[in-house]
């Protein structure tokens, strides 16, 4: 079909010229589209995501309103606390179900989210380091268990978790430093998590032998 206005022959069977939008005379020969029709399918996926987010915002807005109306009876901003927990849960779900990252990146992200939750609870409940002091070493130990589980399930590629273990050791060292400087107080838990993470890392390196050392070489190549 020819667009007389633009002077081009249009091959893709569209009823109007894509440039000037003049109607095109339809020929007798059948023309097949060069590209599949996917625009509507693409838009439907985006609507579902928007709906979930809107639901979360709506729930929190209702909670804030109730809190404001009952402020005289109960001056504590519990809606902010619940809102923070709600956001944490939403982000956990988002992290678990997001497609674009692997499970190791999700583990890092989950650790970060738990850390933020501990700091938030400390602040909101006025506990001044109690949640962090107990929560951090328990968090480290829990994630060591998660890493061990992942290594057993994915035993063919167990070396992929070595960098994660390395970060656990660093993380434990930081908590030890915080304990030494008096910021954190739970000596037993912190020492246990440090020893566990170091033993786990050393065990993997020494028993993993060449495979693990090659993985470390790749990860740290400069």
């Amino acid at each position: 079909m020819r667009c007389n206005h633009c002077g081009f022959e249009i091959l893709d069977g569209s009823p109007v010229c894509p440039f000037c939008k003049m109607a095109l005379r339809q020929g007798n020969t059948e023309v097949s589209n060069a590209y599949p029709e996917i625009r509507e399918q693409f838009r439907r996926r985006k609507r579902i995501l928007a709906a979930v987010l809107f639901f979360v915002i709506m729930v929190e807005s209702i909670l804030v309103l109730i809190n404001v109306f009952t402020l005289e009876a109960n001056p504590y901003p519990w809606s902010v606390l619940l809102g923070g927990i709600l956001v944490f849960l939403f982000l956990c779900l988002w992290n678990i179900f997001r497609v674009r990252v692997g499970h190791i990146a999700k583990i890092y992200m989950q650790m970060g989210l738990f850390l933020l939750l501990l700091l938030f609870l400390d602040k909101m409940l006025g506990k001044h380091g109690v949640f962090i002091g107990y929560g951090l070493p328990i968090l480290i130990d829990s994630f060591l268990v998660v890493i061990l589980f992942c290594m057993l399930v994915n035993h063919k590629n167990y070396q992929n978790y070595i960098l994660l273990q390395f970060f656990m050791v660093m993380f434990s060292a930081v908590t030890l430093l915080l304990m030494v400087t008096g910021v954190l107080k739970n000596q037993k838990l912190i020492s246990t998590s440090l020893v566990a993470s170091v033993l786990f890392f050393l065990g993997t390196v020494m028993l993993g032998h060449r495979k693990v050392r090659q993985e470390l070489k790749r990860k740290f190549h400069i």
């Binding site: 081009f8 022959e9 893709d12 996917i38 990860k219």
Partner: protein
């Protein structure tokens, strides 16, 4: 196809110099994925295409990889997950390659009607590397579908195919003079955008012979002519033919292989910029053509090109920068990229004439290529030719297509007929 001997150890290799940029800046909006497509004379048989991919992939080490994250750099590791699944095209062209959905591969092979699409994340290879792989894939597919094809190589890889995966930049690097990245802000083609994730495509088909004859009259190459036509279209439609303080800067990737005697299939190109500063109103096309051609020719010497990529390599070799952790490097690279993106209007890439062996020519009807949009470059053009047909493909995230229209109209006004095909986004 001869089978490659299986290897027990999982090899690894570093990214080439240019490739270090792409994983840092790639997002859903700026995918850094390009597409090369071969349209055949018959409908694609998916099972045969998948078999062809399964047969040839083990030979192509530079494609048969997954990307991993190190402390200081990204790196590649051989992918042991078997070939990626071949699917019917069901997304917009050059969409983000989610490696986790793709057996950790950084390329995808799709088909639609008679067309085989290869979409490659630029971290793996440039256009020549992509063509290298798709050509061999198509040959293998055609051999499976048409056993009667008389192939000189008796079903093994073609002589045109390179399996070389060296880092051409590191190999040809020389100690650079001091330089910095471009700082002058360029004109940007802006306007209402299509929905996020959508990409509008316009292909223009013209005769190579007609175009060559026309370019001879002006004593310019096809590349210079098309670049000037693109600049002209932006000048007329985006600047309304008026003078301005900002230049129109078109990035033109230059293939370095012939200049440096390399046959690498990885990235080995450098960007030169054709700059045109509109100093007068209603400048004519011939003046723009002269200025653009001059701007390009000045930069297309071996020494000038060497300087360009040597600066990038020197940054990679700098000991102080090498030990910076990757997450900090990423921030710095993103920052530098965003600054230099302001200094660019658009890109036009020319893959040149794509050679196909005589035995397979009767089965391949057309070859096309596309680039994804990027920061500040809402529209890009790709040029390639096969036989006497030259295809100029525009990819754009803008609703308005007046620049593309002006471009093709200029060519028609110059006496060259153009056939147009789109992906339907502007026909609704």
């Amino acid at each position: 196809m001869r089978e490659r001997k299986s290897r027990t150890e999982i090899g690894w290799e570093k990214l080439d110099n240019t490739a270090n940029l792409f994983p840092v800046i790639a997002t859903e909006r700026m995918t850094n994925v390009y597409r090369i497509a071969f349209t055949l004379t018959e409908k694609i048989i998916p099972e045969k295409l998948e078999e062809a991919l399964h047969n040839i992939l083990p030979w192509f080490d530079y494609m048969n990889v997954r990307m991993r994250t190190g402390m200081f750099w990204y790196y590649f590791e051989r992918n042991t997950n078997g070939a990626p699944v071949v699917r019917e095209e069901n997304t917009f062209p050059c969409s983000y390659i989610e490696s986790r959905d793709n057996k950790y591969y950084l390329f995808r092979v799709t088909y639609y009607e008679c067309r085989i699409n290869l979409e490659v994340f630029h971290v793996l290879a440039d256009g020549m590397g992509g063509i290298n792989f798709l050509r061999e894939l198509t040959y293998e597919y055609l051999r499976l579908v048409n056993p009667s094809i008389q192939d000189e190589n008796e079903g093994f890889l073609s002589e045109q195919t390179s399996l070389n995966a060296e880092d051409g930049y590191l190999k040809n690097y020389r100690h650079p003079e001091k330089k910095s990245y471009r700082k002058v802000n360029a004109v940007h083609v802006t306007g209402e955008k299509l929905m996020r994730g959508e990409l509008g495509v316009i292909h223009g088909y013209l005769s190579v012979q007609s175009l060559k004859e026309h370019c001879k009259k002006f004593n310019v190459s096809i590349n210079e002519y098309l670049t000037a036509a693109f600049v002209y279209a932006i000048y007329v439609e985006a600047l309304h033919g008026m003078a301005g303080k900002k230049p129109i800067v078109v990035c033109v990737p230059v293939n370095l292989r012939k200049l440096f005697g390399s046959v690498t299939a990885r990235n080995f190109f450098v960007m030169v910029s054709a700059a045109y500063l509109p100093e007068k109103d209603n400048e004519d096309f011939e003046t723009i053509l002269e200025k653009v051609a001059e701007s390009l020719r000045e930069q297309l010497t071996k020494e000038a090109l060497e300087k360009l990529f040597s600066y990038n390599v020197s940054n990679q070799k700098n000991k102080a920068l090498r030990i910076v952790p990757l997450f900090l490097k990423k921030l710095a690279i993103k920052f530098v990229y965003r600054m230099s993106a302001k200094a660019t209007t658009t890109t036009i890439t020319n893959l040149g004439n794509i050679e196909i062996e005589d035995a397979y020519r009767p089965y391949i009807k057309r070859i096309q290529a596309l680039l994804s949009a990027s920061t500040g470059q809402n529209m890009k053009a790709t040029v390639c030719s096969y036989g006497d047909e030259l295809v100029v493909s525009f990819s754009s995230i803008l609703k308005d297509n007046s620049v593309q229209r002006r471009f093709f109209r200029k060519i028609v006004e110059d006496g060259i007929s153009v056939q147009i095909e789109t992906n339907g986004l502007w026909s609704e």
